[in-house]
């Protein structure tokens, strides 16, 4: 692995579903000689793309797990992570962005900035990741890269600057004009591997000159040398422009826009050049960790090979040789035989086999130096763990993890499946923090929770394929919650003083709605409840939050203020006060007008204009609120908010209503109160469930 970090790039490829991320990655691997034959995502040869290594990915033509791969371009190391486009797998995107230094934001030249592009953009903002944009599919009918660049400005607020213009569009796409070198680039050979630079065609010369002027004008603010050259009318060199674009991009103040067609092998190589020229090397990015030995002060990490090692495990996979842990080293380096410490639990581990991944294939390496991404075998850890050299106690700042919104009961069909299912669940929950599992105490059923129907469907399928665990699934269930809507007082005495050792405790106070999940405020004065019983009271109240008294859904948004109480010198105990708090909670809760909240999803439908009305109708039938509908070319984009409980099976219904021409994305938006009529039916269903049990 290269130790000159100026020649290393850790990049991701992110975009909306079907924008061609995986196809682009496949071309990059081909041009960098990592693969010698191109397979399409859903190609006729049935091989599927190299990066979609899971059978399921190849079958469905979607990327589920981020695949990490490595390639070399012009003697530079590029580590690439190809991320899923589907929102249900958004944690994969979060995870990748956490460890990447730059991103190629792939946009479809026909559909432009789509809903998932917006989500990815928010994630990039969260982790301050610079990006360059690639307008893909310029060969498709209706392609308009200029419109996409404008949408980048209007919809995402990017300062998008065109670095190329197309030579022809749609089926006449021939190549691109590079506005820096002012050359026309054509891509010849069976796979576009021969780049032919020619003079710009006469009919494009004026346009190219105007666009170059616009580009230089836009990027001049990031370089004094360039500004001076413009003002003094000196020669503007390529190096000046490149330097200015690089500065602007790394500062996240501009987004250079490139274009082409990965599928038609057009203009992928210039994009690779752009990755090296404009996206940051590990030394250009500042990364921070928390020092637990110094009260959580933040420490800036440097890509120094001699400093103590700090590395982040960002993804786990179950390989044929045991657990494969993907790791990004931020400082120091990992060598075979090194001893490192998992800062979460303080356990010492010895570094065994180190590898560099190339989708499903792997290459053994001796070390992973700072600034690189690699993987190690045989280390038991969880995703998000930080590994450090002995002597320091740093941890990297945690990733943003969303709460699951949907659950499903699964029942193994036989004993063997039961054992395999446990193994699979153990693995999946370690791999994916948004996938959770628990056993329902009442029904004894195993419940899996996740971010959407597809998310859970994929895991059930993986259980069958990878672990031979045959399971039957129940109906998907929505993660409802309970909360209170008004302030209510409680005054409860727990008293059991008949025979044996007694129990006595009185709690009095009030509960009210709040923004936090749960807050406990102690305002007891004068020792009415001795201080040593206060934690027991808090525990008692907190214990009630797991299962609400109304419908046994988890309770959120409650602040309990304990004002007064009483104790008995002999009969009071922790247990007695816990029981008193539980009684107090139940008493107050009924008076505080509890309501049920349900997850509301942001649903974005993209449909041909002629089906706009029927799609809006579908939303209305589902208690949805249409926020707006916007025409974009031949398509309409309908944005709405719909309760998750109404969205089960929506993809089939949408397909049949639009002759399969519309698609939709769905992601969690917020929790909102369930209307009374729906609340009643939920209560009814819950009662029937109880009767069955």
């Amino acid at each position: 692995m290269l130790k000159d970090l100026k020649r290393v790039r850790n990049i991701g490829i992110s975009a909306h579903i079907d924008s061609g991320k995986t196809t682009l990655t496949e071309r990059i691997l081909f041009y960098t000689n990592r693969i010698h034959q191109i397979h399409e995502v859903k190609g006729k040869d049935g091989a599927g793309a190299v990066m979609d290594s899971m059978d399921l990915e190849r079958e469905r033509g979607i990327t589920i797990a981020s695949a990490a791969t490595h390639c070399e371009w012009n003697k530079n190391d590029i580590n690439i992570i190809d991320t899923p486009g589907h929102v249900d797998f958004t944690v994969e995107v979060e995870r990748s962005l956490r460890v990447l230094d730059g991103v190629i934001l792939v946009l479809c030249s026909v559909s432009g900035v789509q809903s998932q592009s917006i989500t990815v953009d928010q994630q990039m903002k969260r982790y301050q990741v610079p990006c360059i944009a690639f307008v893909n599919k310029c060969d498709r009918s209706g392609a308009n890269p200029y419109r996409v660049a404008k949408q980048l400005r209007d919809k995402l607020g990017h300062n998008s600057v065109l670095m190329q213009i197309p030579i022809g569009l749609e089926d006449k796409l021939k190549g691109v004009v590079d506005l820096i070198s002012m050359q026309a680039l054509y891509f010849e050979g069976d796979n576009g591997e021969n780049i032919i630079a020619k003079e710009i065609p006469a009919e494009l010369q004026d346009e190219a000159a105007t666009k170059r002027e616009e580009m230089i004008d836009a990027v001049s603010m990031y370089s004094d040398a360039l500004t001076d050259a413009i003002l003094e009318e000196k020669e503007i060199t390529e190096a000046m422009i490149v330097d200015a674009v690089r500065r602007g991009t790394i500062a996240r103040e501009m987004t250079p826009v490139f274009m082409g067609s990965a599928y038609k092998n057009t203009a992928v190589q210039p994009l690779l050049d752009a990755v090296l020229k404009f996206l940051p090397a590990p030394i250009d990015i500042s990364n921070e960790a928390i020092d637990h030995n110094r009260n959580g002060e933040s420490v800036t990490l440097t890509s120094d090979f001699d400093k103590p090692t700090v590395a982040l495990a960002f993804k786990l996979e179950d390989g044929q040789y045991g657990q494969l842990t993907y790791i990004r080293v931020y400082q120091g380096g990992l060598k075979k035989g090194d001893t490192i410490i998992n800062s979460r639990d303080g356990k010492k581990v010895k570094v065994g086999r180190l590898i560099r991944m190339h989708a499903a294939e792997m290459e053994d390496i001796e070390e992973i130096p700072a600034g690189h991404i690699g993987a190690m075998f045989g280390i038991d850890c969880a995703s998000g763990d930080t590994f450090v050299s002995p002597g320091i106690n740093y941890s990297m700042i945690a990733m943003h993890i969303m709460e699951p919104v949907i659950s499903l009961s699964i029942i193994p069909v036989d004993n063997k499946s039961q054992i395999n299912m446990s193994k699979a669940l153990n693995r999946f929950t370690k791999e994916d923090p948004t996938f959770r599992t628990y056993v329902d105490k009442e029904t004894n059923e195993t419940i899996i929770q996740g971010m959407g129907e597809l998310h859970l469907e994929v895991y059930v399928e993986r259980m069958k394929r990878e672990y031979k665990a045959e399971v039957q699934t129940g109906q998907p269930r929505v993660a409802y919650r309970e909360t209170i809507t008004q302030k209510a007082e409680f005054n409860y005495t727990h008293k059991k003083q008949t025979g044996g050792s007694g129990q006595y405790g009185r709690v009095s106070g009030f509960m009210e709605p709040c923004e936090e999940e749960f807050e406990f405020v102690n305002k007891v004065t004068g020792g009415r409840i001795p201080t040593n019983y206060i934690p027991a009271c808090e525990k008692g109240f907190r214990g009630c939050m797991d299962k609400g008294p109304k419908l046994e859904f988890p309770v959120t948004g409650v602040r309990v203020t304990l004002v007064d109480g009483a104790y008995h010198a002999v009969d009071s105990s922790d247990m007695a006060f816990q029981s008193a708090a539980r009684g107090g909670f139940l008493e107050g809760y009924q008076k505080a007008k509890p309501v049920i909240h349900e997850p509301i999803m942001k649903v974005v439908i993209e449909t041909p204009n002629e089906f706009q009305g029927s799609c809006m109708g579908l939303i209305n039938q589902r208690r949805g609120i249409i926020l707006g509908s916007q025409e974009e070319g031949v398509m309409s984009v309908i944005e709405s908010q719909v309760p998750l409980s109404e969205m089960f099976g929506f993809s089939t219904i949408l397909r049949s209503a639009t002759q399969g021409k519309a698609q939709f994305t769905m992601e969690f938006s917020s929790y909102k109160q369930v209307p009374q009529s729906v609340a009643e039916s939920i209560m009814k269903a819950k009662e029937e469930d109880k009767k069955k049990k």
Binding site: G613, S614, L627, G628
Partner: protein, 229 residues
């Protein structure tokens, strides 16, 4: 209470009264570019939203985000006009009324009343609350709009809707003998109500061109807030 106060303060209620257009009838806000047609239409729509009704806002040039900003601004101006209000109360009311507005953005050449009809039919089929009004902002009345107006008129009658349009006039074109801007004159028979906005010193003058006995009434409004001066 807040709803009632805001309705009373609404400039459009004060100018046009609270009785709205009859079913299937048209209304127009006419002015030259940049005077405040859209913002006035937004105030008309907000007064209906405050009455608990639903509206559809179709814009032929503004993106959805901009439509939303216009409504938020219009609501804030109205709130500010009645002095101090508990911000939480104001925010809650906005949360209540904002989802009752549904914005559609489309291009003029692809604007199709058929899509709107499909949507309304689906609402009716599912016994959901129907909108009371449609705002059509940006239709070019310099061209022949009779086909679109016919379709919209049918829609209005079928679903008991009032439809308000913005209508752009031109500085250099004088009013016709009937006292209407040229664009309105061509189609005035279809319209039940029409107001004309024109700058007057540092205010905007609202002249009622069509509305029964109110014709020729004049009111001054603030250009920044569209509230009565």
């Amino acid at each position: 209470m807040l709803r009632k106060d805001l309705i009373q303060k609404s400039p459009v209620v004060q100018i046009l009264g609270s009785e709205y257009l009859g079913q299937g009838k048209f209304g127009a806000v006419v002015s030259r570019a940049g005077v405040g047609k859209t913002q006035f239409l937004v105030q008309i729509a907000i007064s209906l939203l405050l009455e608990g009704k639903k509206i559809i806002h179709i814009s032929l040039y503004d993106p959805i985000d901009k439509i939303n900003v216009r409504y938020k601004e219009g609501y804030t101006n109205l709130i500010d006009s009645i002095g101090y209000i508990d911000p939480q109360k104001a925010a809650r009311l906005w949360d209540d009324i904002a989802p009752c507005k549904f914005g559609i953005t489309c291009h003029e050449n692809t604007f199709s009343p058929k899509n709107i009809r499909d949507y309304l039919v689906s609402l009716k089929k599912n016994s959901l609350e129907m909108p009371a009004m449609i705002v059509v902002d940006g239709l070019d009345f310099d061209r022949d709009c009779s086909v679109v107006l016919d379709r919209l008129s049918e829609l209005g009658s079928e679903f008991s809707l009032a439809i308000w349009f913005s209508m752009k006039s031109h500085r250099e074109q004088p009013f016709t003998d009937k006292g209407f801007p040229v664009q309105l004159d061509r189609v005035q028979g279809r319209f039940d109500k029409a107001v004309y906005l024109q700058p007057k010193e540092d205010k905007i003058e609202v002249v009622i061109l069509k509305d029964g006995i109110k014709v020729n009434e004049r009111h001054l409004i603030e250009p920044a807030t569209m509230m009565l001066a």
